[in-house]
Symmetry: C2
Subunit: 336 residues, 2 copies
């Protein structure tokens, strides 16, 4: 069959080739998209997500949005992977502090280092975002960016989360991996926004979600440029740029990408401003909060949690049209 | 012909479909790539560029670089469009200052506003990057980001550059448009780095180069988030984030994209750190400086220019393997 087909194709007009290409694309996508979200149960959440993606990608319909405007934004901790018993970067920084604590005796009595030595994640969180920034500025000063990257990657691969079986690096939520793949397949560009350091998020985003380093929006360690023996090198200095409070999150994302997302997925009250910014009355938008309701497979928490507190978000979701994804009800599988 | 062809395709195995797809892709790229850089003369510069793109995209050869690592970075003023008689954003800010100067009588005697009222671009530049930042912070305070965007876009479309016939918006270098298209076609992701404000660069980057707003790396006006009558809005405040000196440019790009470019195109001594960072001895890299040598079609300038001074770059290019693109010799066409 193939030889005569090749000959036929070579003789086709440009118009016919284009038509053929479109047919093949359709056939391919139909095959791949049988059920794009197999780890999601058939509930209202899944239906709303699929309906939204369908609406904005159907050319010639009123809710169609061209690919350049299809931006989907995801929070990280608690949205793409667990933030309990403590966010992974906190555990990583605790280990980094311990690795050099012996040469800093003053850390035993100075915050935020004391909290790290005591492995007191809640106590550290209570000191605010700047406290974590102080840890990561101090523990990686004068490292090259390549050294940090390989250290974080190997830590993720080899350190077990104390609550779950398996390493931190394997704890991504499978339903969210499928959702990201489905959005990307439909022409969306994916960004991850986080209060962790960009470098830490990048050490797993490509591997876990296919999200490249340039698609991470987060505070970032400052570096210093120098040329050593004819080779340029970036070395970390003890300062963090881009720390923002919750009200500053939409501005931080806008500075980075110059447009607003049309879909946002978060899980906490700290995500409310991003939900408000994403929604645009009368236009097709998707705002969603992941509600952790599954004490058996993951955790059940909301308004009283020290990490990922969710109270205002739950109360305001119905009147604002934000979807609340119920982990226990909506997810058939949690981890890969 | 088409009906039986459709039927044949529908009956093909997955393997045959893949083979067919690859054939079509080849046929399509061969057609598009007859001469990907028609505005470039057949000189060493063009040859070096084509050879580099060829080398990093040829799978199975030692210099192959996977698509995720194919990052090309471009300076803006003087590299993608003219910076003489003055950079476009300076002219834009002068017009913005004039539009509200009557309500700020103190500006007549305060720098940098006085330089703007006198339309003294060189005098403004001498006050450093922070002076321009001060102008753009002051003139657009409390504007919404949408208002700024439409104002800048209409200014670009309707304001004539005093030296050239035609509006600023039409002055992009055609050879660079072709080069960006060629790189993109070969799987490169394109970023533009600028000392202008990100918002100003974004107002033309998509239209002129197909470069999206998220691919602009530049200082950026700070905004404030609020919800007005149920609708979120970002309003500009009088502050600029992300100002960096030349030594800080590699760090600024790294904070944004988390990796180094493998190709960089600049035109001035202020681009030397980015050239140093891009090059990596023994690996396939492309560093290039555009030398403005064409007094007839554009301008001829280098070491004595108030904008885009090029001295160290020219001296150090040969020993570092940086290409020097000679506008007069290497470009058959300058503007579209």
């Amino acid at each position: 069959l193939e030889k005569p087909l090749e000959a036929q194709i070579m003789s086709l007009s440009r118009r016919s080739l284009l038509r053929l290409g479109a047919m093949l694309a359709l056939a391919g996508s139909a095959a791949a998209e049988d059920d794009p979200l197999p780890s999601w149960n058939s509930t209202a959440s899944k239906e709303a997500i699929l309906k939204f993606v369908d609406a904005v990608t159907k050319k010639g319909t009123p809710n169609f949005i061209p690919a350049d405007g299809r931006v989907a934004l995801f929070d990280d901790d608690g949205t793409l992977w667990p933030e309990l018993p403590h966010p992974a970067q906190i555990a990583f920084e605790f280990d980094c502090v311990m690795a050099t604590a012996s040469s800093h005796p003053d850390w035993n009595s100075t915050q935020p280092f004391k909290a790290a030595i005591d492995r007191d994640a809640v106590g550290l969180a209570r000191q605010g975002q700047a406290a974590l920034a102080k840890l990561l500025a101090a523990t990686h000063e004068s490292w090259t960016v390549d050294d940090y990257d390989s250290t974080a990657m190997s830590w993720l691969a080899t350190t077990d989360n104390p609550h779950f079986k398996g390493s931190y690096g394997k704890l991504s939520y499978k339903p969210m991996q499928e959702l990201i793949a489905h959005l990307r397949h439909n022409g969306f560009e994916i960004f991850i926004v986080s209060s962790n350091s960009a470098e830490f998020v990048r050490s797993r985003s490509q591997h876990a979600y296919g999200v490249s380093s340039e698609q991470i929006i987060a505070p970032s360690i400052r570096t210093k440029f120098s040329v050593v023996e004819g080779k340029a090198v970036l070395t970390r200095v003890a300062a963090v740029d881009g720390l923002v409070d919750d009200a500053g999150k939409p501005s931080a994302v806008f500075q980075r990408i110059g447009k607003a997302p049309i879909a946002f997925f978060g899980n906490a009250d700290s995500d409310v401003t991003l939900l408000q910014w994403t929604m645009d009355p009368g236009k097709p938008r998707l705002g969603a909060l992941l509600h952790h309701t599954d004490a058996v497979r993951e955790f059940a928490y909301d308004r009283d949690s020290p990490f990922g507190k969710l109270d205002k978000g739950l109360r305001e979701a119905p009147s604002n049209g934000w979807i609340v994804i119920d982990m226990k009800r909506d997810w058939d599988v949690v981890f890969p």
